[in-house]
Point group: D2
Chain length 408, copies 4
């Protein structure tokens, strides 16, 4: 029993206490344990070899920050009951449970029409049934249906503990110190006004730094061209595999991967059959990697080449595009691959792709960050900061790329 | 070309420069890239969830330290030519290339009779052929056949850059700060006397700390009971799978894993057939993990239970043993599992194991650490330090455990 | 001799090597050693008790970064001779040598009409004479009279090693992690185009973070209201002491402090008499602190109260002002102190002060930060960054405060 | 009021909360504020220029660790009331309040016959009177007269929070990472058995590391030859000054320093006159440094030379001695200085000194560190650890040095 009150070493935050059995049991659930086998940053290790930390560790870290946030708010006389605190911690522990391996890749290939958030919710509901309703509060908070809305904001908003953890953690494991965010300091500045999370005015410089760090991490890590190139390659691989599967080709795959290769699984399937969720819950990075290696030795020349390139880190080259790819350039590329390998035009299309990376650092319309002044007034951070450029912060920045296999 | 002079971010040492094309090409070799898919600490993430760093990153870090060591020694007028420096860096970059996934597990099950060092050497020889002999020097250093023996000591000795990297790195990713070693400081204290690596006397306290840190990491991380319990479970899984394979059972496995499950591969095979090395070079963590998940849904009840336990982190319990397990205790255990699941005695043996963890912190007979005094004399560290207990340091410490599946 | 090639431990950058005797001799000069007794951040320790690092350590750290910068630029084929490298290192080592204790305070009281930069130059010239002209190059670089202007930019510009060191160092010792700047990364991105220091385009996010960190440090540390309150109090103390000295009162003071209390020293004096510089070179934090403690026991009631308040950390209270202090408010304050202590109006003025803190994060007119693109074009950072608000960055921000002694 | 619940930034432990007004008021006491002007490591900055942290910061850090320790013990159901917690924190906050500037130096020169611990106690009693008895508990704990003895052990024993803080802190500011101790981890392992502080068995490796780190810090920092050389020089300076004062010479000195120069103050004086304590409480580093600088310009040739050497970092040279200095060597030295400067033999003795540095890492007789096993038994750490050499750990290590002014 007391064994369940565990302390876990975290290289980022030091000792993390699992505060009670309820949370310990969630942590031990196979759905959560599976996150130990899914890397938080997918293929970023092709650029940052230290970035092999898992979604499990991120979830644990976010739970830790939630515990801190709840304790800070309580000290400021914000009313959060014991069970509300637990619910908030459970909600953040499970907020990413629905992620699959290489999420961005998967959502473009094998599992379409349903987001990882929706799957997270389904998984939470399943665990809730197994735990006889103990997750009701967590689910309400997650869905923003709980009366104290600020608890949802701690889980999901411009300034949630999710971001506070992942910016710290991802920058730590990538070795990009500039992405570090003063999580502890920001947490100390939190408060609640009219059921809304706010930051006390003296924290404004930390918030500015948080937003700048976030932007830096986007362009330097999350949307790094080489990671995206690796993702595009894996998308092509899975698309090709799915195409071959559809054509009846026998492909090596674990049971779970088979399920998603040989069936077209829609949001409906997740709703009406238990099978989809059950199989999904078995998928992790190893299914994809193990299959790609076997496919690299297979007989389809397209799949073989793509997989070999992927394993040996011969990634797509990147070119920034000012305008969408012109028809003639497109045809040139196709022609080139056709001539080289004697393949069809359709097959040639597997060797290049266009892709846009989009981000905006801050969207006040969604759920703004309020700055609380000593006189009780609240301003949106984009207004409060004279440093930050409102129009820029809220602007979508979009960059277009051509990814292509470079012939020697 | 200049693209090949890369800088790689390392969370432990900051920026690591790959000094030239020669080393960059080795880094890009599929054998080395494969280490990106093998975790340095195998199953330690069951205890330390941050410990997901790879053998690739360790090799890179060790290369970085070698570069530092060479530069320090040159400043002290130790003669190391450009090509010797390169050879030493190549040797350390490749010193672990022969590791398989979950090395300790594998060496007890699928790949026996040959050590990972021997496989490293074979892989180095293969790469050497591909690179037209460019690795000759590195191989000589690795095998300790190079005239300047101290270069081998930098690769492999009581105080090699391998240990300096892995102690720093493993403690960093585990979040066990106490294991940290002052690598930079120790490197600054290195010198060479009569072709032997020595540490200058003022570094003795750092060496003491290095030895104590090493001991601490052994018992707190490398031989942590829970990691070892996970390893024992995986050993049982692979042993059972191999048993079933031998009996002709069809088991899911990637091509490479199939090869080692359905054949008995000896050192001879590695020597006489290219196939063994080729298949081995395809194995990584994903083959094992993907298979275990499928086996957990299979029909052999023993394999099924073991795999389910493994995936869901229901690990073997541990009991320390003063004496080897008595026949009666052994029979009791077997009886218990037989009754519970209606299995044979032979099958019941898969649910427990005896294991001894052994370590000695320092073995002067192998290759001692010499302390160089200002007057030119050299003493073994165990003599030079009045703090450290010679007998103890050099003593094998052995702990005996019973690991067993706990019935509820 | 070899003793002079020293390695010094720095908690911020690790080991710092003093590269040669020339620099070692400068480091040992009494003018430089004196910086060991002057705190880099003056009275900031009243807010950040860890901020006790000295101007010596900052100068040493800046020299270390200069060494790195020179080495990075040489790798990019920027021509910097051995003696130019030495001169640049000497220049940065000495760039702050003219600082007195509590610089901002001193420049408003005892030493007026001459800046610490001018005194630094005089000291450099004195050392140069002692070293038989060995500092010629350093002086030229410092004065921006050396043909390679980028060397001066490394010493003094928007992105000099001075700032790179002090932002890192001050945030480190204050424990304000958010002020940390990726010095190592920024240095790696430096280049020189047409004799002008530039940053390569991929470093733009680091530069953005550098500017935001700088702004944060200004408002959170350098202009922290409590530090400024302490400074204002010390200004009042020294002004009162000088007043009493002028009136012929005997005050305890070290010889050097006497010199500046009992004489009115102008820039002229520094030019025409050696005495001024000689006495100035003897001043450090201890002269001021030792005197203040004695004065707290003295007989002038004003000086006594101010000094007692200062020693016991009963600092001035702060009120932000929208407009300059009105005549009536001013008179009210004076009246209040007069009544309380039975002092004159003139004496009452020692118990409050108005003060404006001013900063602009970036001034392109001075010496802008150029961003170098792959196509060879260069843009000013304020243009290149879509994040940063040009108007804001370059705007002077001014905050007006009333500091006053609070009666109980 | 709420202003008194402060959070203070500490570069070592992050945010430190002053938990309540009681402790805040102690922190603001002039006796405690004075520690802001006394460097924790005295003259160590001559070797480690970052080591300028103050006794104030150490006291604050130790209070923070005490807060953690109390909270850990309470979680383990050790009964510590609110006021006991406060008393323990007050006791540790004040444990070093009696330190003077450059303690080791002072205790050999101006303030003899009374230890800083005795003065700490006197100061605590003075503050206690001012606070109307609020420090009764703290004083009892400090004197080990409080019934719960383990509270005293937290303040002062082999494993007190004093050491846990200073090892961390001193290694941090010196930049000697190897001295770092896992304070947080060790605190988590604390427990109380039969009113005695113990460490749970799984913490044994951390304790071993703690002892080794401590030993390392002793020889590498606290007893570093260069620091000791600087101390010896300052002892000679103060001894000479006192000698001249006794002879009626007029020497520059602050009022407080005058008091100790021109009077012979004994333990009696502290007991029977308030003056001694009042003057002592005014002494800090600045009194000594300001005086030394003035003396360097004075007319006594011995004092002048010693002070000039000290200011310009021309420290005594060190020679290790196997045996006490022989009469002939002694006479040779004296002769040398006499001839050089035309001084008396007695005066020549100011230019050299013999000194022994002594330490033992662990003294079980005083107050041993108990290791608590799962079965409830307790062993002394020196017995429990097979690594550490009992005889060695408990052995006094003594090194004899000759310090002398080197003539050119």
């Amino acid at each position: 029993m007391s064994n369940k009150k565990k302390i876990i070493n975290d290289p980022v935050f030091g000792f993390i206490s699992v505060p009670n059995e309820f949370l310990f049991d969630i942590l031990q659930h196979p759905y959560v344990q599976r996150l130990n086998r899914i890397r938080q940053l997918g293929l970023s290790y092709y650029v940052y070899p230290g970035a092999t930390h898992t979604r499990f560790l991120h979830s644990l870290g976010a739970m830790h920050l939630m515990q801190e946030a709840v304790s800070v708010l309580r000290q400021k006389n914000v009313d959060i009951s014991h069970s509300e605190g637990n619910a908030a911690m459970a909600a953040i522990l499970l907020h990413d449970v629905g992620h699959g391996p290489f999420s961005h890749v998967l959502e473009h290939t094998l599992v379409s029409g349903i987001s990882h958030e929706e799957i997270s919710l389904m998984m939470m509901q399943t665990i809730n049934r197994e735990m006889h309703g103990a997750l009701e509060g967590a689910i309400q908070i997650f869905k923003n249906e709980y009366p104290k809305h600020f608890l949802h904001q701690l889980v999901s908003s411009q300034l949630d503990v999710d971001r506070l953890d992942y910016l710290c953690r991802d920058s730590f494991f990538c070795g990009v110190n500039e992405g570090t965010v003063a999580s502890a300091r920001i947490l100390k500045m939190l408060n609640v006004c009219d059921d809304k999370l706010v930051v006390e005015a003296k924290g404004i410089y930390s918030i500015e730094k948080f937003l700048v760090a976030r932007r830096l991490m986007y362009w330097q890590v999350y949307l790094h061209k080489t990671s995206v190139a690796a993702e595009q390659l894996l998308i092509k691989i899975l698309t090709r595999a799915k195409q071959l599967a559809t054509e009846g080709e026998q492909l090596f795959a674990s049971t779970a991967l088979q399920y998603f290769l040989y069936n077209t699984i829609t949001a409906e399937d997740f709703l009406w059959s238990e099978d989809a969720l059950r199989q999904y819950a078995l998928l992790d990075d190893s299914d994809i990697l193990a299959a790609v290696k076997v496919w690299a030795e297979g007989k389809d020349v397209v799949l073989k080449m793509l997989c070999t390139a992927f394993m040996n880190r011969v990634l797509f080259k990147v070119k920034m595009l000012e305008t969408p790819l012109q028809e003639t350039e497109r045809n040139n590329l196709i022609e080139q691959y056709r001539n080289k390998w004697n393949i069809t035009s359709q097959e040639a299309e597997y060797f290049f792709s266009e892709h846009s990376s989009v981000t905006n650092t801050y969207s006040p319309q969604d759920d703004n960050i309020g700055i609380l002044y000593n006189d009780g007034t609240i301003k949106d951070v984009a207004e409060a900061s004279d440093m930050l450029n409102l129009q820029v912060l809220t602007k979508r920045v979009e960059k277009h790329y051509l990814f292509y296999y470079q012939l020697k």
